[in-house]
Amino acid sequence: MLYLDHAATTPIRPEVSESMAPYLGERFGNPSGIHAKARQAKNSIEEARERIAASIGAAKPLEIVFTGGGTEADNLAVTGAAIGAPGSVVTTAVEHPAVLESVRFLSRVGHDVTVVPVDQAGRVSPDAVADAVDSGTAVVSAMTANNETGVIQPVGEITRLVRSVNNRVLIHTDAVQAFGSLPVAAGSDGPDLISVSAHKIGGPQGVGFLYVRDGVQLEPVIHGGGQELGRRSGTHNVGGIVGLAVAVEAAVADRSDYRARVGAARDRFEQDLRLWTNVKVTAAGADRLVSHAHLRFPGIKAETLLVRLDFAGVAAAAGAACHSGAIQESHVLAAMGVDSRAASESIRFSFGRGDDAATGAEAATIVSGVVEDLS
């Protein structure tokens, strides 16, 4: 079984499972309490918080807000930043639905929103983003790298230019897909809000964090008992948080090794496919994450190819799935000007931890075999 869908989710690191096991057993306490069981849990989550803060260079542990995953972190960042204020929202056309749907919600309740288009390679222009910002803008959200195509956005440049227009704007970046390979870190020159998800970096599903620069006020999207300094209520997923911290540390430590190995896997895969098939690589000219191979085999429906690959034990993806499981059209490809037909032929392979050049070669052999059969 060749798992090439790391962009969807990643295998859990053994050290993560180990760290979480006691929390499915006798370490069941709720951190909000006075007794020993509660304090044990409280210590666990605060230790996790400190370790994560240290990993990303955050000045204070309380700049880490635990959430129920990347989507929730995006919601807290975007809606949380805009909803209290009368301010406008600026984002890009290729954001994850967690950001775009939050922006649509804000538009429905009366906020001005601007969705900055991207070029054919899926890149947003920092100037275009800055042009959309004015004195009334509350938040700008631009992802670090796209989950479908792997295209890397110039977040540093965007941050710089936006602040030169209005230095009170909150700058958010969805770093969910990028965290495992790019140097995502907190810093005075960096974004004010950073979303990270555990299950994309070898941690468990259902937990993540939002880095919130000290001093930034957010309206919570989940109201309740006031956990996380009121920013995210609800009993902590203690085991998940512990696993999240282990995953974050491991991911940060692994970054350069990951880039080398996973990059070798993806590059070998694309290289071999170019030799044996008429594959078109999406956004080949743009900077892309080392993990992503977003491709098109002209004349072959992605749906058919994915099913045939599934039969052959290869896991890959296309677009997003609707509730029934059918593939839905990608808004990212539409924003890049890719027509419907080409979009229906587009397929995403994503390599990850454990893959290397040999994986890439094996994958290319299987994929080109099926492609040839279907041609």
Binding site: T304, R308, D310, F311, S324, E329, L374
Partner: protein, 355 residues
């Protein structure tokens, strides 16, 4: 050998999948996403809804077979939904299930069957396929009350060789019993009676929305031309129809003709409505050639028994002369010819013949 089973979420296709597993096939289940409501999501009412796909998925999980939802929205819209409105607009009565079978299910999906490296396409239709030295045959289902051979008449030798209809050999009761014995959750699920893309259950509301020109009023006249009343849209009328005519004449009246250009509905007595035959176009024959013997039985609508008739070949089609005068069939429907249990073929009813 791999079998691709089209699973609608109903009990017939669920049992069909199970039977193919028993027969030793490598079974793969698929549901076709055919229609989307506003917002691009599968409908939640009508047939082939999200709930139906869920049922199919659960059965596939129970049977431990791979299961996929395949997107056929574009093909279905072009082949079934658009002609549906256009046919009514032309004063005729469409049969969407036949168009779906002709273009989507047993054409596009049959092609996909090969692309997915499967040897046969399987459905839960009630009909039988057999093979002998004369080739492939399509026969009525064992369960006469559920026979669906009418909507499969367009298949030919090539298609039949690659299709399997395992539940055609069983009665509906036996199918449900088998489903229950296998613990399939769809064992007692009621059969869908609706047009699969009409969520509201009333096709006239659907048409009024999709094609507003079909909801234009016009006169209801008798066979002498006297105006008897007004109607709210010709799509509400099918030849032979008795109810909902919107006129009070004292005795029963039946739709004798629908004239779309004048937006006119002609009604008459039962006797005036009866037909002696019909003209059939676009006929296909399962064996590949028309029968030598012109004496056949013909079904001129889905749910009435086949009647004795004679076929006469004409330039663009066939004249079908009924043995006895019949309530007139509706142009746009299929006329399907049988030789006893065997389906000979069929075509589209163009005109009603009186006299």
């Amino acid at each position: 050998m791999r079998a691709l089973v089209a699973m609608s979420g109903g009990v017939d296709s669920s049992v069909a999948a199970a039977l193919m597993i028993e027969a030793g096939y490598d079974v793969v289940g698929v549901t076709l996403k055919q229609w989307v409501g506003a917002g691009g999501a599968m409908p939640t009412a009508g047939c082939c809804t999200v709930a139906d796909a869920e049922d199919a998925r659960r059965v596939a999980a129970q049977l431990d077979i791979p299961y996929y939802v395949l997107d056929y929205v574009e093909e279905f819209t072009a082949a079934v939904v658009e002609p549906f409105g256009a046919t009514y607009l032309a004063g005729r009565t469409p049969n969407p299930c036949i168009e779906c079978n002709r273009t989507v299910r047993f054409s596009a999906l049959l092609e996909r069957t090969t692309e997915l490296d499967a040897d046969v396409l399987v459905t839960g239709h009630h009909a039988r396929i057999s093979h002998d030295e004369d080739g492939w045959h399509l026969l009525r289902a064992v369960d006469g009350t559920k026979d669906q051979s009418y909507v499969l008449h367009m298949l030919g030798q090539e298609e039949l060789s690659r299709i399997r209809l395992p539940v055609g050999e069983m009665t509906k009761v036996e199918v449900r019993e088998r489903a229950a014995a296998m613990g399939l959750r769809t064992a007692s699920k009621p059969d869908s009676q609706d047009i699969c893309f009409v969520a509201s259950g009333d096709y006239r509301d659907f048409l009024a929305e999709q094609l507003p020109e079909t909801a234009l009023p016009g006169p209801v006249v008798d066979t002498g031309g006297t105006i008897l009343g007004e109607h709210e849209g010709i799509t509400g009328f099918t030849i032979g129809q008795r109810r909902g005519l919107g006129i009070a004449v004292g005795e029963a009246r039946y739709v004798v003709d629908v004239q779309p250009e004048e937006r006119r509905v002609v009604v008459g007595t039962y006797d005036e409505m009866l037909a002696d035959g019909c003209v059939v176009s676009g006929a296909s024959f399962i064996s590949g050639t028309p029968p030598d013997n012109p004496n056949v039985t013909v079904k001129i609508r889905y749910r009435t028994p086949a009647i004795a008739a004679m076929l006469h070949s004409i330039d663009d089609g066939w004249i079908v002369r009924f043995g006895e005068r019949q309530p007139a069939p509706a142009p746009g429907q299929a006329a399907v010819f049988y030789d006893g249990e065997r389906v000979l073929g069929g075509g589209t009813i163009e005109e009603v013949i009186r006299g």
